[in-house]
């Protein structure tokens, strides 16, 4: 048989999806700006918040700052990767023709999406591990009143939050040009970090809090705090996240352009 004698065929779907996930995760972790967003900023927020909490004068209802801030920073990390990183990466994949080229490969589109989700989860888990260790080093003590409920509440919030933000990130990347996506994804991240109820409890925003609590950022933050501070599953926040995930998915499915 000569060198180029045809022997076509796609790899099995699981192999293709895993290959795609590995590739995307590797590229995400290689990118300096994305690492800054994924790890460095959340760590700085956690340090800064714990050190400066007394001076800001926010009502933490008798809890230690580190116990309130750590769940919020975990939520922030999810938001940065699932929304900002996914949007930017996907926007440039469209721009550079990566999605187009993959569109002529045996990897089907649902395989590409699945690979993206796995890569995203991979990075999120890595972030959570780092941030939990940093939190514990700073003296974080999650509530141990009902560990199972805490874990279920946190995992549900993280999963739904990841889904909601990833769907919204793909929506932005699918309709805007790459540069516009880059700008908007960073801007939204900064706005939500500052005023979106993610790091600080929604209750800290005074009169604006009823509005803010409907944001996916606040729902994710509140869901994490309820689970890890009060050992309860925050049904309302989970529903808000599920609704955002549904809206984001619908919008993406309707509008996403592969090229």
């Amino acid at each position: 048989m000569s060198t180029f004698t045809p022997a076509p065929g796609g790899a099995t779907l699981p192999r293709m999806v895993l290959a795609q996930a590995r590739m995307e995760a590797r590229l995400m972790l290689r990118n300096g700006e994305q690492l800054l967003l994924a790890i460095v900023i959340p760590v700085i927020v956690l340090f800064g918040g714990v050190a400066g909490a007394d001076r800001i004068g926010i009502d933490l209802q008798g809890h230690r700052p580190v116990d309130i801030l750590t769940p919020g920073v975990l939520a922030l990390a999810v938001m940065s990767t699932a929304f900002t990183s996914v949007a930017i990466a996907t926007g440039f994949e469209r721009r550079y023709g990566v999605i187009k080229l993959l569109g002529s490969s045996p990897l089907p589109r649902h395989g590409l999406l699945l690979g993206k989700v796995l890569a995203l989860l991979n990075v999120v888990v890595l972030q959570l591990v780092v941030l939990v260790v940093v939190g514990l080093a700073l003296g974080w003590e999650p509530t141990l009143d009902h560990p199972l409920r805490s874990i279920v509440g946190a995992v549900l919030a993280l999963a739904l939050g990841t889904a909601a933000f990833a769907a919204l990130g793909l929506f932005v990347a699918g309709v805007l040009r790459a540069e516009a996506t880059l700008a908007l994804a960073n801007l939204v991240y900064l706005l939500l970090m500052a005023g979106g109820g993610v790091v600080l409890p929604t209750s800290a925003y005074g009169a604006a809090s009823p509005v803010i609590s409907w944001l996916p950022s606040a729902a994710l933050g509140d869901g994490m705090r309820e689970a890890l501070v009060h050992a309860s599953i925050d049904g309302r926040s989970l529903l808000v996240l599920a609704a955002w995930a549904a809206v984001g998915t619908l919008l993406t499915a309707r509008t996403f352009r592969w090229e």
Binding site: S2, T3, F4, T5, P6, A7, P8, G9, G10, A11, R15, M16, A19, Q20, M23, L27, R30, N31, F92, E93, Y96, G97, V98, K100, L101, G103, S104, S105, P106, L107, P108, E259
Partner: protein, 312 residues
Amino acid sequence: MPAPTPAVEVDGLVMAYGDKVAVDGLSLEVARGSITAVLGPNGAGKTTTLETCEGYRVPQKGTVRVLGLDPQRDRAALLPRIGVMLQSGGAWSGVRAREMLDHMASLHARPLDTDMLSDRLGLADCGRTPYRRLSGGQQQRLGLAIALVGRPELVFVDEPTAGMDPQARRTTWELLEEVRADGVTVVLTTHHMDEAERLADRIHIIDRGRVIASGTPGELTREGRSATIRLVVNRPFPDGAPESLRVDLGPDTEVRQLDEVSMLIHGPADSTTLGLVSRWCEQHDVLPETLNLGQRNLEDVFLELTGRELAP
């Protein structure tokens, strides 16, 4: 066993973007195991036609069959069997050349050995270079490697040698010839005449979304009625030389002065024309040093068919 259907059949394809018609009732066939060139100027509809065959675009009118399959309906069955080289891009900016090739290999069941492929395409030295730092020619070669890595039956290559230096072009041509010898069908677009003449078994010349001529390179260059004559003389032409020569040669002829001692004459390829040219030289007291009846090439064919130059 002879293949039952052509590798590609396009019949009456129409594609328009807004009110701009890119492809206007185009029909062509590609035989299995051949190299077929789709030749035409920029904007002729080459890429749109290719992208319809690759399943990226839905035909607005007409039918497209690739390996006997409908690129839209049978997408999942077709894609593993074809290789695609895009005109540009296709890789993450931060991905290393070799990493990208290995990744695309991993999406196939029986990929080519990527060491061998890198060597063959001169990518061994830039394997660790991020895509954005590769030269244009290296990006093209990586694109070609990606198109071939899954051992396809049919490859579509869009402007394969654009941006390559002459050495890389020749290497690429040799590779494509070897690919054909091993039984792969190659469809390439180009606006380089020399590429089509050198490589293709069959050429479809397209212009403004239609096939205006098809044939082997030999058929296309033999059929014509005209040729280019190159005239170089021993001392400068007198003023108004091109005009006066044209009057002598008649209205079917074009005369272009290149510099003060040479001219190109495009007209009927016969001894009458040559005789008229040498008599004109005698009358104007210049001695022809060169009087060549040039080999008619695809460039001339295109000019003749469309009245325009092919070069973008």
